[in-house]
């Protein structure tokens, strides 16, 4: 079907409005190009002829809304993704974090926990585990449940192991999990002092003072205005001198809050909140 582009844009914004009004999830400031692709994908999978038909289904059937939510939440992640980032954390950031008697880390948009457990391993190896609390949040309930299981497809472990080593890991990575059927179960001690909870970066607020915020590959899904709002939330959450880590292709370059941070490791996208911010 060939829908007029302007008509389609109207349908898209009506759908987002409907979802917001009915379910409270606010996608109105997400990247429209991204949303449109995901929605087209859903239309073709479910055989809807138009976005308006999807809107009808989402409004009248909560199960359809859950599917839609799943479609829009891209949970692609890896342990030790971008090994050089984790190496910088290990070599430079954790020693500074270690000067606090106790500290709090927030992983925002933590997906199935790959990033969180990578951090737990770093803290364990630095002997800092019992001084830090980790808060791991995502707006996707289903993925958080998965994260709490700390189980990953065994097929991915080879890649994770290689990345762990590139990130400076010197232990045997196999000591951190047990293989069970086709799954690798992370050892239970890695789950200690991690609190998983539902938190929507668009609509929920600050929930504590953090020393380190990790939010990687989440902001790219937002438009500039929403990026500004969410970075603002991190400014409000971080203690003076606290660290902010973004994804390897994210930056504060276009951000309204750029002047509140100073780069610590520019290439690894690690910033520090200025003491006077």
């Amino acid at each position: 079907m060939n829908v007029h582009p302007e008509t389609e844009r109207i349908e898209l914004s009506l759908l987002l409005e409907a979802v917001h009004l009915k379910y409270g999830y606010d996608f109105r400031n997400y990247s429209m190009a991204h949303l449109k692709r995901r929605i087209e994908h859903r239309l073709s999978l479910s055989g809807f002829a138009s976005i308006s038909m999807l809107q009808h289904a989402v409004l009248h059937d909560e199960a359809m809304f859950r599917i839609f939510l799943q479609d829009l939440s891209i949970n692609v992640s890896e342990m030790f993704r971008d090994p050089s980032f984790y190496k910088a954390l290990r070599d430079e950031i954790l020693p500074m974090l270690g000067t606090y008697p106790s500290f709090k880390i927030w992983h925002a948009g933590c997906s199935a926990g790959q990033e969180v457990y990578s951090m737990a391993i770093l803290l364990h190896e630095a002997g800092m585990r019992d001084r830090g609390q980790i808060y791991a949040t995502d707006f996707n309930r289903a993925i958080l449940k998965q994260a709490q299981e700390a189980a990953f497809p065994l097929a991915q472990l080879k890649d994770y192991t290689a990345k762990y080593q590139q990130a400076g890991g010197e232990n045997s990575f196999a000591d951190y999990y047990t293989a069970n059927n086709k799954r690798a179960l992370l050892r239970p001690f890695l789950k200690e002092r991690i609190f998983f909870s539902e938190h929507n970066l668009v609509t929920d607020g600050v929930f504590g003072e953090m020393h380190l915020v990790v939010c990687r590959n989440v902001l790219i899904y937002f438009d500039r205005e929403l990026q500004d709002r969410v970075v603002g939330l991190f400014v409000d959450s971080l203690c003076p001198g606290g660290f902010l880590c973004l994804g390897s292709k994210e930056s504060l370059k276009f951000s309204r809050h750029a002047d509140k941070f100073e780069p610590v490791r520019e290439k690894e996208k690690i910033f520090r909140k200025r003491r006077d911010a």
Binding site: N2, S31, M32, A33, H34, I220, K249
Partner: protein, 196 residues
């Protein structure tokens, strides 16, 4: 009357570095619109491609950044392991969505979103490559009234991608590699011709 365009998108896979080193340096220094390129690379690749191309080109060649605004006469290359999308307001978005056609970045993702943004004011170019990525995107560009160019399969180091593109839609121009940049120079003109 001369047709007005707002952007050129290109997709290329195996044999890409050579093809782009032939094509991009020949683009005129005052090229009138932005050029966006998806080249398939391994996830671990660094920004070698854009650096190398920039050294040999008159135009600025850079890795595309999230939320930057397109500018005429700049060549944007999708970073390895990220999809590149164009927003309706002419800004860029990167994403880590799953691979499309076994590729991230995917040519289809760039072409389809650019087509939504620029409709009939878009030129799509498919170059050498050993897969099917880009065929669907080029078909959408045509459906929305844009212009489709494909490297002639016999001039391509790998001809599967050009062939798939030719099968997917009625392509406007099939050209050997060395004629593509001169053709674009004439078609697009300078930034001065393009002020509207």
């Amino acid at each position: 009357m001369k047709r007005i365009f707002k952007a050129v998108v290109m997709g290329v896979s195996s044999g890409g570095l050579e093809a782009l080193k032939t094509l991009v340096p020949v683009l005129r220094p005052d090229f009138g619109v932005p050029v966006l390129i998806v080249q398939h690379l391994s996830a671990q690749a660094d920004s070698y491609l854009s650096t190398r191309l920039d050294e040999v080109s008159a135009l600025l060649v850079k890795e595309a950044e999230d939320k930057e605004i397109l500018q005429a006469g700049v060549v944007y290359v999708a970073p390895p392991d990220y999809h590149l999308l164009v927003e309706v307001d002419g800004s860029l978005t990167l994403s880590v969505d799953p691979k499309v056609n076994f590729s991230r970045p995917s040519v289809d993702v760039l072409f389809e979103t650019a087509s939504d943004a620029f409709a009939d004011k878009l030129v799509g170019v498919i170059l050498t490559g050993a897969n099917q990525d880009g065929a669907r995107g080029l078909a959408r560009i045509k459906r929305r009234g844009g212009l489709a160019i494909v490297q002639s399969p016999d001039s391509a180091q790998a001809d599967a991608m050009p062939r798939a593109a030719l099968e997917s839609t009625s392509v406007d121009h099939v050209l050997p590699l060395h004629e593509i940049a001169p053709f674009l120079n004439k078609l697009i003109g300078s930034s001065h011709d393009n002020t509207h």
